[in-house]
Each structure stands twice: as structure tokens, then as C-alpha cells.
């Protein structure tokens, strides 16, 4: 065993114990800064764009769609995931920093939708842990806003963010 590794692990342990009293704060802070990465694979992307447009303005809930994967902490899967795209999805998910959440949007992302018996489909729930599902084909923009609110409520009540940050 190397000394540097042991020291690093013990420092992390001490930091985690020190941070424990602040876990409600971590949840509260993450709740109002859900930044989903752009992962538009099909038509649900239009509804996603509409829900962040001027009429519904989901940005007022503290959620901002962002382009750089390493600066985001949520991923809204907008549509069909093929076997080739599933690999990209996995890479994108693994690049995001620790408290991270996955939302499956639309019938295709939930159960395959109209492509349920295709040879080239992957259900996102088989490869990623999904917090919120948005049903519809495609869902209304209001449903996306509602999903962001649902995710916020789940974060507050189930302590999702602090669990991932301190234990994961």
C-alpha cells in the first residue's frame, strides 16, 4: 500500500464527515441548479426547446441547458437511443461530476415507443439509473417543466444530491 493513496483516502473521509451537517444545504443548492446537457437524439428535442423558451421559461426554476458535459449535472434523454448512441450516452454520463441525475423523456426513452420491436434499440433504463420519466409521444413542454419540479421535490425529500455527493 502506498502512503499517498492512504493519505488521500483518509482526507476524503475527514472531508465527508465534516460535510455531513451541511447535507441539507447541498440538496437545497443542487435543487436550484439542475443543468441538463443537450442530448437531443430525436423529435422530443423540439418540445424540450419549447419548454425552455419564453412562454414556459423553465430557466426560472434554476435549470439551464448547457453545452459542456463537464459543467452539467443532469441529462434529459430526448428520444430514441440506438445501440450506437447508447455508447455515446454512457460516455456523456460518466463525464459529468458527482451529483448527477437522469430523466427519460418520451415514449422511446421509456420503453422504445414505436420502435419497441426494432433490432437497433436500447432502453435507457437498462444502462443508466433514471430518476424521472416523462410520458408522451412527444410530451408537452409543460410536462418537461413538471419533470424538473418533480426532480426538485425528489431531491429535497429523498436527499438524492447529498447521498451521491457524500456516499457515492
Amino acid at each position: 500500500m502506498d502512503i499517498a493513496g492512504v493519505a488521500e483516502r483518509s482526507i476524503k473521509k475527514i472531508l465527508k464527515t465534516l460535510m455531513k451537517p451541511f447535507s441539507p444545504m447541498i440538496d437545497w443548492a443542487t435543487k436550484y441548479s439542475i443543468w441538463p446537457v443537450h442530448f437531443t437524439t430525436s423529435c422530443c428535442g423540439c418540445e424540450f426547446a419549447a419548454s425552455y423558451g419564453p412562454r414556459l421559461d423553465t430557466e426560472r426554476l434554476g435549470s439551464l441547458p448547457f453545452t459542456h458535459v463537464r459543467n452539467t449535472n443532469a441529462i434529459i434523454i430526448e428520444g430514441t437511443i440506438t445501440k450506437k448512441m447508447a455508447k455515446a450516452l454512457k460516455v456523456v454520463y460518466e463525464q459529468m461530476p458527482a451529483p448527477k441525475f437522469v430523466v427519460a423523456m418520451g415514449a422511446c426513452a421509456i420503453d422504445g415507443g414505436i420502435f419497441h420491436n426494432s433490432y437497433n434499440i436500447v432502453k435507457p433504463r437498462d444502462i443508466l439509473p433514471i430518476e424521472v420519466y416523462i410520458p408522451g409521444c412527444p410530451p408537452r413542454p409543460e410536462a418537461v417543466t413538471n419533470a424538473v419540479r418533480t426532480l426538485q421535490k425528489r431531491m429535497q425529500t429523498l436527499r438524492l444530491a447529498s447521498k451521491q455527493a457524500l456516499e457515492g
Binding site: K83, K84, G112, H116, N117, Y119, N120
Partner: protein, 152 residues
Amino acid sequence: MSGDSQVKAELFIENPAELPSVAQTLKEKGYDHVISLSAVDYPKSNEIHLVVHVSSYTKKDIEPKIFEIRVKLNRDNPRVPSLVKIWPSAEFQEREAYEMFGIVFENHPDLRNILLDPEEFSGVHPLRKDYIVQVEDIMLKLKEEVKSGGNK
């Protein structure tokens, strides 16, 4: 003839080795591009039919015509000479026929998968009739279950 886009000529080739000479003759007559290149699988008679549609941009009198070439191939080892040297627009469509049906195009410059993941679909051809989709129709299964439950 002009304005009538329904005009269609057809040619059925039994021996795949004859395809390049037929294609060369057609090109000299003015058919200068491939509209579509696909295949049909007939598992009962153990054959695959390669279907090529060609037409013309340059010659106005044959522009509304679509010429269809059908080539009979052996289903166990489908091999056919490539058309890329005669019609360059066939390149990507031959690659698609290669991954979907397993047809090997001899002397193709770059014969590999175009749409499907090469790791997931190596040696598997999803548009052949004997390909088994892992998640088949949910509705049919439910119907069968209800039927067997009623009989019991």
C-alpha cells in the same frame, strides 16, 4: 414520353457475373446514376434478389424512365460484382445492403458497416427473414396468454 414518370423497364438476371456487362451497356445508353439499391430475402426458395433502380439526369428522353435490374443470388453465400466503378452513387447503398443482408460486393473499395454498430452486428443481418428480434410484439404475447388462460 415526357412528363410520364410511371414508365418502368425490368430485367431479371439469373447469373450474377453478367451484372457488370449489363450495367456497362445501360451506362452507354445514358442511364448515369443509381436511384436505389436494395435486396429482397426469399428464405423458402433459398435466394436473395438484389434490386437496382437506375435512371438518367443527362438524357432528357430517358429521364422519366426508371430501369429495374433484379439479380438472383444464392442465399448461403451471396456474392455479386460491385457497381461502384460504373455508377459511383452505388457505393453507400452497397454498404447498406452488405450490413442488412450480408451481400458481399466484390471489388468494392470500402466494404464495411455504414449505419449499424460493427461490434453489435458482426455476422448478423437484421433485414433477413430469419433474424430474431429480441423484443417481439407485446400485443401478440398478451393475446396468447389470455387464450391459454381461458382454456384452462
